[in-house]
């Protein structure tokens, strides 16, 4: 019998952990991307805070988005958005649901929390940053493995998967958004022509794939050189890649079937799937990708709201 309050905390624990992992991936790829670019090129560091949905908090504190300030903000600061802060929240949710989770799972989250607390500041510098982020990503992956190997397939597990799925779908749209934003000089936003993007565009898309560990799978399954249309289609609409939006929504559908009183959530999920599948990527790349992503995010947020209204303590 799963308490509503516990379901909520388990769900948020999974969301925070997934967000931690994706943020780490994003920062990692951003830092690598920079090394591929000519040293004079200025990256739009601000887009990092935009992707993570934290620009308001960032702008309040910093006048300019520079590498150091953005890194400090997203790695170490106690602001609700940094890797350290999100791990603290994941740990708090985990600490308060220890009765339903395997002991080792809490211990691993606890380890990551302490590790981040002690090492995140070092990540402001490029050298140790990579090592730090890799440890976080690996730690999150170990945790996923541990959970999938030790938790009974019950409602607790289903709420973990719900949280993870919703967060992953959302984060993938945000990362794809990098490509539609003004990350590279020359790419100016939603109505820019593909040609204007400049010589580094393919490098950028390649790095976007890498940030989601999708590069190899893309090569195997798309069998074309890296190009915006195929990358966006792969990351949004692929039915088989586990970080693609459609894949995650399909997974959620399977989980929902096992949960009681799932009517309104399922309806919303089907609506989201129709929206996501309905996007014609080739046309959207010319105009409208930004809006398409925006609409997807609203639909995904709405899935969350229906989940909360149905099962959480209100």
């Amino acid at each position: 019998m799963l308490l509503s309050r516990v379901a909520e905390r388990v769900y948020w624990q999974a969301r925070y952990l997934e967000r931690v992992e994706n943020t780490a991936r994003l920062l990692n790829v951003f830092s690598t991307l920079m090394l591929d670019l000519p040293s004079k090129t200025k990256l739009g560091w601000h887009s990092l805070v935009e992707i993570t949905g934290s620009s308001e908090a960032f702008d309040k504190k910093y006048k300019q988005a520079q590498e150091r300030s953005v890194m400090r903000f997203l790695l170490a600061e106690d602001n609700g958005h940094s890797i350290s802060a999100m791990l603290a929240m994941a740990r708090e949710n985990s600490r308060t649901t220890r009765e339903v989770m395997p002991t080792e799972a809490f211990e691993q989250i606890n380890y990551l929390y302490h590790y981040a607390k002690e090492n995140a500041v070092k990540g402001e510098k490029r050298g140790p940053r990579h090592e730090f982020l890799e440890e976080i990503i690996t730690g999150c992956q170990q945790l996923s493995g541990l959970m999938s190997g030790t938790i009974s397939r019950d409602d607790t597990y289903n709420f973990l998967l719900l949280g993870r799925g919703v967060e992953r779908a959302d984060m993938t749209t945000r990362i794809v958004d990098v490509g539609s934003g003004d990350l590279l000089p020359g790419i100016t936003g939603d109505n820019s022509e593909v040609e204007v993007a400049g010589p580094y565009e393919n490098i950028m898309w390649m790095n976007i794939l890498r940030s989601l560990s999708a590069y190899q799978m893309y090569r195997q399954h798309v069998q074309d050189i890296v190009n915006p249309e195929d990358v966006v289609e792969f990351l949004i609409q692929d039915e088989n890649f586990p970080r693609a939006v459609v894949y995650n929504l399909n997974e959620l559908k399977v989980i929902l079937k096992q949960l009681p009183r799932n009517g309104t959530v399922s309806t919303q999920l089907n609506k989201a799937l129709r929206v996501v599948r309905g996007g014609e990527i080739d046309k959207l790349l010319v105009v409208g990708l930004f809006d398409y992503i925006d609409v997807m995010q609203v639909e995904i947020a709405s899935i969350h709201q229906k989940i909360a209204a149905t099962w959480f303590l209100n």
Partner: protein, 500 residues
């Protein structure tokens, strides 16, 4: 992390200090009863294995084990909450690696004494809320009970299953100058510490696997959560069904939250907060993702006053409205039962030997510490005249708060307590300062004796059970008697070892 912490500690040691070994000849407990050595250089029989093992290690090696233990506690997330002005802090549990040894024979007798005590206490509580024979027979004065802050008139006439009101009891034991166990107090409301007892063992096994293998037969303690579950299941009102047992916690900011969560996890019970529960048709339900689900037994870790705002404290946000009535109707079991705290009072404590004799017609196996009741004119006079030699305790405080330790108090404090006692004699009792026994702890530079107490946990429903040992708390400051973790105390693993 590990290397750095170790380096920090070792770097302050001289080479001589780092390579030194425990010298039991210079280890000096003074006038106190030490549980490991009898006379300088000679270990007591049950402690011999430990004493020689400790001598086989250098101080640096011991510190390395301490660092490993600290790290284990951190990664296992064994914590407790300290309240402070800066907010509530989740702190790592303080643990001293050197275990405390108690011989099996001695423990078996103590264990019988604890069960006897709880049986008598339960007879007493049941009598108070029903027939009140003990007042008529003039063993305990009626006014004492009716004046007690823990007496709940709402409980009159109620007969919980097996006549048991206090299902879980944590008694504090001390050893005096002769090494004999005495009961210092019985905690019948929401005694805590058992999770730390269990976790201490987990850490000790990591630190001293060789002692578990070779030197000692140590009685296991892991069965406690299963025993607790059986106790709770035994009082379920719905007899034909697997009972739905929940642990009711005040929430994540409570100092014992770790324990609430730990016990729920180990019992496979739900951990609930007040707003997870609702009462409908005089039955208690919890809010789950499937809707409402009926609850049979509540192991509540909330004080009486807060369990039901419709009966007790109206401002309580922790409890559940209607809970008390559901219990009165017999639709849900509460452990411990409301009102059980009436026997958890330092004044009632002084009557426990007579209470045992009265209900069980047995002599008490475990003695009380000599006590003086301020409500008695003669005894009060004695207390006031000897304040500087006595420990004075208020009737209803716990955690070592509101106490006066005469020999260590200033003139001003003594005067203040004299005033308080005269104003409200019912609320005070006094005891001579007992010479608490000592055990060795690992200090930064040397192994030294420190004072300890022991909190075993006793269960009672259809049968009774006592933990093998309990939670040993140790005053980490030299000479100090304060063992509470909230006030700088530490803890130790406690080993009940067989004699052969």
């Amino acid at each position: 992390m590990r290397a750095v912490a170790l380096f920090d500690k070792l770097s302050v040691l001289t080479f001589k200090e780092a390579t030194m070994r425990v010298n039991w000849k210079t280890y000096n407990p003074g006038k106190f009863f030490d549980e490991i050595i009898s006379t300088p250089g000679y270990a007591r029989k049950p402690a011999r294995g430990l004493a020689s093992y400790l001598r086989s290690l250098t101080h640096a090696e011991l510190l390395e084990k301490k660092t490993a233990a600290d790290l284990a506690i951190k990664t296992m997330g064994i914590s407790f909450t300290v309240y402070s002005d800066a907010g509530n802090i989740d702190r790592e549990w303080p643990f001293d690696i050197i275990p405390r040894i108690i011989a099996e024979k001695e423990w078996d007798k103590t264990s019988l004494g604890l069960q006897q005590r709880l049986r008598a206490i339960n007879c007493f509580i049941n009598d108070i809320y029903n027939d009140q024979k003990i007042f008529r027979d003039k063993i305990v004065p009626k006014e004492l009970i009716l004046d007690s802050g823990n007496f709940r008139k709402e409980c009159m006439g109620i007969k919980p299953r097996f006549g048991v009101w206090a299902h879980i009891c944590g008694s504090d034991l001390i050893k005096d100058g002769n090494g004999d166990f005495f009961v210092l107090e019985d905690n019948l409301r929401v005694p805590s510490g058992v999770s730390y007892m269990l976790e201490n063992r987990r850490v000790a096994k990591r630190v001293f696997p060789e002692l578990f293998e070779d030197a000692y037969n140590i009685r296991p303690i892991t069965e406690y959560p299963a025993q607790l579950f059986d106790t709770l299941a035994a009082i379920s009102p719905r007899r034909n069904k697997y009972p739905e047992v929940v642990v009711l916690t005040p929430g994540v900011y409570n100092s014992a939250y770790f324990e609430h969560s730990f016990l729920a996890q180990r019992m496979g019970a739900e951990l609930v907060e007040g707003n997870d529960l609702v009462v409908e048709n005089e039955k208690v339900y919890m809010k789950t993702i499937d809707g409402l689900s009926q609850v049979d037994v509540i192991y509540r870790r909330i004080d009486d006053e807060f369990i039901d705002p419709s009966v007790f404290n109206k401002d309580s946000l922790l409890g559940v409205s209607g809970l008390f009535n559901a219990w009165v109707k017999g639709n849900v079991a509460l452990a411990n039962a409301p009102g059980a705290g009436v026997a958890d009072d330092k004044i009632i404590y002084t009557y426990i030997p007579q209470i045992i004799k009265y209900y069980l017609d047995e002599d008490p196996i475990l003695p009380n510490v000599t006590s003086f009741l301020c409500i008695d004119k003669k005894q009060c006079q004695h207390v006031l005249e000897n304040l500087d030699k006595l420990v004075v305790k208020p009737a209803n405080e716990s955690g070592g708060y509101g106490m006066l330790i005469g020999p260590q108090a200033s003139k001003k404090e003594l005067d203040e307590f004299a005033r308080r006692i005269k104003a409200d004699p019912r609320n005070y009792m006094a005891q001579p300062l007992i010479s608490l026994s000592t055990v060795p702890i690992l200090g930064d530079r040397v192994v030294e004796p420190r004072h300890v107490d022991l909190r075993p946990f006793v269960l009672q429903a259809d049968k009774s059970y006592v933990t093998a040992g309990g939670l040993t708390r140790v005053a980490m400051v030299k000479g100090s008697y304060i063992v509470n973790s909230s006030q700088g105390g530490g803890s130790k693993d406690t080993w009940i070892v067989s004699d052969d």
